[in-house]
């Protein structure tokens, strides 16, 4: 066997021996140490449960609020005017008066009847003049 091969064999033996010794040492830990390790483990597991519980509580608190916010948003989107709607023409100041006039019982040409005769006379005059 060459030097490298022997060295590898030695290394392998050292590794195996070290592993076995260290592993055996874990079985011989004092009771106090094992007890402390168990306590630490339980504390970590409890902390895990509490952490998840807090997350659920946060979820429970925010889900209804989120649902309300989503409903409000949906309502706004449904009821809000669409951007593509035609622009609203501003109502002129006199338009309301016209509506009143149209709605009233008084005839439009009551005492201000149109003088058709005048227009006929004016048309004749214009056609007869050179």
């Amino acid at each position: 066997m060459n030097a490298d091969g022997e060295q590898q064999q030695v290394d392998g033996q050292i590794e195996q021996r070290a592993h076995a010794l260290l592993l055996a040492s874990t079985d011989n830990l004092p009771w106090a140490v094992r007890s402390r390790l168990a306590q630490a483990r339980h504390a970590a597991v409890m902390a895990h449960g509490q952490h998840r519980q807090r997350r659920l509580q946060r979820l429970q608190r925010w889900v209804p609020a989120g649902a309300v916010a989503a409903a409000a948003l949906a309502l706004f989107l449904v009821l809000a005017p669409h951007r593509s709607a035609p622009p609203v023409v501003p109502v002129a100041n006199g338009a309301l008066e016209n509506i009143d006039l149209l709605a009233s019982d008084v005839p439009l040409n009551g005492d201000q009847a149109v003088n058709y005769e005048f227009y006929e006379w004016a048309a004749d005059k214009a056609s007869s003049s050179p």
Binding site: Q7, V10, D11, Q13, I14, E15, R17, A18, H19, L21, L22, L23, A24, S25, T26, D27, N28, L29, P30, V33, R34, R36, L37, A38, A40, R41, H42, A43, A44, V45, A47, H48, G49, H51, R52, Q53, L56, L59, Q60, V63, P64, G66, A67, A70, A74
Partner: protein
């Protein structure tokens, strides 16, 4: 909107709560099994690195709590390298704190009057075997611990994680936060150093 309502409807909360409880219990069981499987090895790794039982216990407890708080939601296969990464970080923190403290204490003229004798002794690299092992192979274990203690930090980490804990190269690289090539190099050098110190060890 309908999808959203289906997803988070408040009427589903009891079901959600039950599923959450079941998941929590399963997760807790898995976490407990995992921690029970690694706690002794983790303690021995910390103990050999720090040469102080109480500090080693604190470090292991911190690592357990950190794992449960931050990484318990990750798949269980990822826990082992993550746990050892946290552990190694904590070990390094303690070593740095000690280093700073010893430097500060060195500047204090009244340091000899301090009642820190216990800590100073604990920090001293005396290499004596811990009372953890009371078996026939005490001498060998003590020699191994001395040799491991004398290794540079990275080499010791690589050796302990690969050889003792049984992590593969990839897992060790995650735990040590370095490349797989570095892990192989550190491990090879650690074995070389151990061979030089423990030539008769194999018999």
């Amino acid at each position: 909107m309908a999808g959203f309502a289906t997803l988070v409807s408040p009427t589903d909360l009891p079901t959600l709560r039950k599923a959450h409880l079941r998941e929590t219990q399963d997760g807790a069981r898995a976490l407990e099994t995992f921690l029970a499987g690694v706690e002794r090895k983790a303690f021995r790794i910390a103990q050999i690195a720090l040469r102080h039982d109480a500090d080693a216990l604190d470090v292991v407890q911190d690592a357990m709590l950190q794992l449960s708080a931050r990484y318990a939601a990750r798949p269980a296969e990822e826990w082992r390298p993550l746990f050892y990464r946290i552990l190694e970080n904590r070990i390094r923190d303690v070593q740095r704190r000690r280093s700073v403290r010893s430097r500060v204490m060195a500047l204090m003229p009244w340091r000899e009057d301090e009642d820190e004798t216990a800590d100073a002794l604990a920090e001293a690299p005396d290499g004596s075997p811990t009372p953890a092992v009371q078996v026939e192979s005490d001498e060998m274990l003590a020699a191994l611990e001395r040799a491991l203690t004398a290794l540079p930090n990275r080499q010791r980490q690589a050796f302990m994680l690969r050889n003792f804990e049984g992590l593969d190269v990839a897992g060790t690289a995650v735990a040590m936060k370095c490349s797989q090539g570095s892990v192989k190099t550190h491990y090879f050098r650690a074995v070389q150093a151990l061979r030089a110190r423990l030539g008769e060890f194999r018999t």
